[in-house]
Subunit: 424 residues, 3 copies
């Protein structure tokens, strides 16, 4: 352990109490904290702006919210957890019986100790989320009900961090920042993305890496709407979510199914012998839905540990900082690091001496003593690269066909390139 | 049981005694009975007509045929079964010894109680088919041998029934009507086809469905020869045979192997969880041989229960009405019904809002309450259709990729189409 | 056994003592002996000739070589085995201590009784190969060391034998002749090639078969360099090596992976029910490396028994004539014979009567008695050929799709062709 896992976990804990939603100060506060780790460019998009088929909604903020019993005791209190208020609740201030209140209360009867997460972004409503146990303990009678929220014209907020590369072709890493007090979904993803960005900036990568921190769905749609030209330059991408639970890694393929990122992730997960799952694209989940919509159809996959909605704690108060582990976040980070290392070096070369094998020996690339059967891996890698360097196969293809480590293959290609035997 | 199975079985029993062949009054009488169920247009094609590589043969009819022993007792009698006469036997009237007669007798030594079915359409011959037991009981000595047949210029007879659809593109359903007293092969197929035609006419299907009742090989060839232009409009087709035995359903793919009908049948058989077999195309069997000949190469598969020649009773007197069951015929009918329901709705749509997801909520197509993980099947189906509606994937593709029922997918597509989000 | 195996083994034994290398009289003597079996055209290419990326090296010959102890006793003697001298050793004549000598000695510590095979073609060096046991028995002290070799301008020698076919399109069969006293690698390959050439000449094959006997790597490269135009006519090819050990046959696919030769070898090995392995192409092994280099990318596979470097005796003195068996060589020969028989008859035909089935009966190609379910294989083969004769499928495709023997399919195609129903 390098301590990176613990530092990411500390970031999760720090972000956890904030009341995030698809708009509002919770998102701004979240981005301000992330900015301490990697400098962010924050974008504010006014309410009413048309973004693709959607419209940026009004901005929502909550100052206070509670249900108080006849004694004035707050039995449900927003101050205790941002989950307690139905997302995008309109203001309410009333006294009503439990019977009147009940249609506005959301619980999980099967998990009576947990508070669910619910929203009503596009239909005006108000409500509270609470534990079934809490509800069961509430006597009939009158309650003071108060949500001191504002739903008004304002802005949708998202941010970007760019690590410039050797080329302007881009890799995007996108994570949603709209969920309130839920740790795995998606503060763990935010933390891994921030630390990944820091690492990438330590060298100049081949691709330009763009990190997008945006509210789910409407945020990705807003980014896509405002970056029509940039989208042309997006070669690969990854949506990061649920990055910290203790389950195995899950990679969900892009809609294309055989995009470079799909092949790289499969290779890295398989070559590293981590237990993992690869799943096919479905049009449900996180913002890969938007990036892979058929008009864009980007090569963007999604990396999670336990996948979307695949654990009981999903979208409940049980998805708290204890649910995510430093080790798991560090493992997710490591896989991203390995995958981008492959992606960055995966090129198609053309063998400039394709008729017969070039004589590697006189170029100092080959052992001079013949007859032995233990040709070294580096030499085998050169032969494989020369054999497949026909402009159609990339180095990852070579690694997979040969069974050699990608690094060895990429090193061999560099040596051959330096010797003038390959062109990029 | 709706009683349909019993009604189909009654039709089989009624048709069973008739002496069908590739021409002759037995075919005409058969078609006249079928016409009581679905109106047929009957075609008569004169002997000598060139049809593709073939020529319509002379017409064959039998009035009487028997082998009588020295006492005048008929030991083999056409009146007992139309199988007893070798199909297309020329007339004979003679007295001969058993030794002289023997080369003209066909039996099944391994199944001594059964009478085989044999023909000699294209080489002039005469003969009798009888049980080995019968032959064994015939003493040496003289026999009166008589086949009162005519083989003369006349016509080949076939019939069509058309269920008009919304488009003139056609689906053909073809079954052979040339076999004499054999129930599964192919009176069961004829009965299922007739009842299927009746059902389809109850609504206006998308495709125009053409039912072809024709003698095997020469009949299909005649239809193809006389419908060169119509063939261009045939999009899909099914040859129905052996539709009533108690074995599992077998679908034999078209020569193309991946025609729409192949995919639909596989889907329906698999989705319905019926035990079944899917077999590859072979150029042997029923009239799929003709429809799938390489010059036409139509998307025509073949549906049977136990396949061609796959049961001991095949082409013997044991293929009698007891061998076919109402329940089996009803099951065959049901699969055809299900398959054509899918075929009729399987379209390729284009998503008119392909950049990001369209906002289904404001169109009333999506639940407003967010955060839950139990998105309904109908909503999932809409997302899948939108994701794959790129003009390349059809709704059956969507159903198979998503694992959702085809009906749900097709309903979702209709809802999206009605909302202006898809074009057909 | 026809005795062919024994005759091939006798050839191996005769060739075994010669000191072959990539140039020199050992190759010439080898080719002179092979010429007694099949007439060879021998090519001599001068030192310094540029061949693709390589240059023909100087010619190497050894008259004598030994290490003698203080008593003048030869403890290592070239006369006992050509393996004892490092291939391409420069001359040396010196007296030196064992300590001084040791860096020039090559042994196999794990196989102390065996002498390894080593070369240093492209770096000037001298050395001896000997058993570890021999080395262990050598006392410290002085030794007389002598290699009476010449390394001087001369020629590289290779040879061809051509069996003219009906067409000028060629099949090449290539085997390396550069290994000194090693029996399986590759005298067995040379012997099988020679006997295969003799057999092929007994009839006029369809393709022209060219047998290439050349030193490994540089020889194949030289042939390719000098036959740029001929390479255009090479349709298929096979590299023969390690053809005589007692292991199962191994076919290594061409770089293309689905070349005709790949499909033919798979079919023949599978249809013959021999235990065997099929392996994917790797750019390491024998001269398939050159023929399949990406600029040529010929449809050339490699047939061995135990593959390249796959047995402990590989490149050691244990690969002696006892290591190869007459039966194994005969089996390798038989597979080549069967494969070329298929290759030679595998054509693509076009059905000239593709609309419906042509009437085979009136052409005498079909039994006239109908109704039976035991259609003969020959008739089934005709139906299959007609069905798939669309110019895209070859007869091997037909055999594999139908499950019928290739010979039956090819005979059916000839009958149909003779009847005017197919064009080639």
């Amino acid at each position: 352990m390098t301590g990176t896992g613990e530092r990411m976990h500390a970031l999760v804990e720090r972000l956890y109490p904030l009341c995030r939603s698809i708009t509002g100060d919770g998102v701004r506060d979240t981005l301000a904290i992330v900015d301490e780790y990697v400098p962010l460019r924050v974008h504010e998009v006014p309410t009413g702006t048309r973004v693709l088929d959607w419209t940026v909604p009004q901005e929502w903020n909550v100052r206070d919210a509670y249900i108080a019993d006849a004694d004035g005791r707050r039995v449900v209190d927003f101050a205790a957890s941002s989950l307690h208020v139905l997302g995008y609740s309109v203001p309410v201030s009333a006294t009503m019986t439990l019977a009147e209140l009940r249609p506005h209360l959301h619980t999980l009867p099967d998990r009576p100790a947990w508070v669910p997460y619910r929203t009503s972004y596009y239909e005006r409503a108000w409500g509270f989320c609470l534990a079934q146990d809490t509800l069961d303990a509430m006597p009939e009678g009158e309650y003071e009900v108060r949500i001191d929220s504002t739903l008004a014209d304002g802005h949708l907020t998202y941010a970007e961090h760019v690590v410039p590369g050797q080329v302007t072709d881009e890799v995007i890493v996108s994570c949603h920042v709209c969920h309130p007090s839920l740790a795995n979904d998606n503060l763990a993803g935010v933390a891994v993305a921030a630390f990944l960005a820091r690492e990438l900036a330590e060298r100049t990568p081949y691709y330009t890496y763009r990190f997008i921190f945006a509210p789910g769905t409407i945020g990705a749609i807003t980014w896509l709407a405002r970056n029509a030209e940039r989208v042309e330059r997006v070669r690969h991408g990854l949506v990061l979510a649920c990055a910290g639970d203790r389950g195995d890694l899950t990679y969900k393929r892009s809609r294309r199914g055989d995009a470079d990122i799909d092949r790289v992730m499969r290779h890295v997960l398989s070559a590293s012998q981590r237990p993992h799952r690869i799943t096919e694209f479905t049009p449900y989940g996180y913002d890969e839905r938007q990036y892979c919509s058929p008009g864009f159809d980007l090569g963007v996959g999604s990396l999670t540990r336990t996948p979307y909605a695949g654990y009981p704690e999903y979208h409940t108060s049980a998805d708290n900082p204890d649910f995510v582990s430093p080790r798991a976040m560090e493992d997710t980070l490591a896989v991203c690091r390995e995958a981008f290392a492959v992606l960055d070096r995966d090129r198609r070369y053309v063998n400039l001496s394709p008729y017969g094998e070039p004589q590697l020996g006189r170029r100092g690339l080959y052992d001079s003593l013949g007859g032995r059967s233990d040709a070294k891996q580096a030499q085998m890698a050169m032969l494989w690269v020369l054999s497949l360097a026909d402009g159609e196969h990339g180095l990852l293809d070579v690694a997979e066909r040969s069974g050699l480590p990608f690094e060895t293959v990429a090193d061999a290609a560099e040596a051959l390139h330096a010797a003038g035997l390959l062109k990029a």
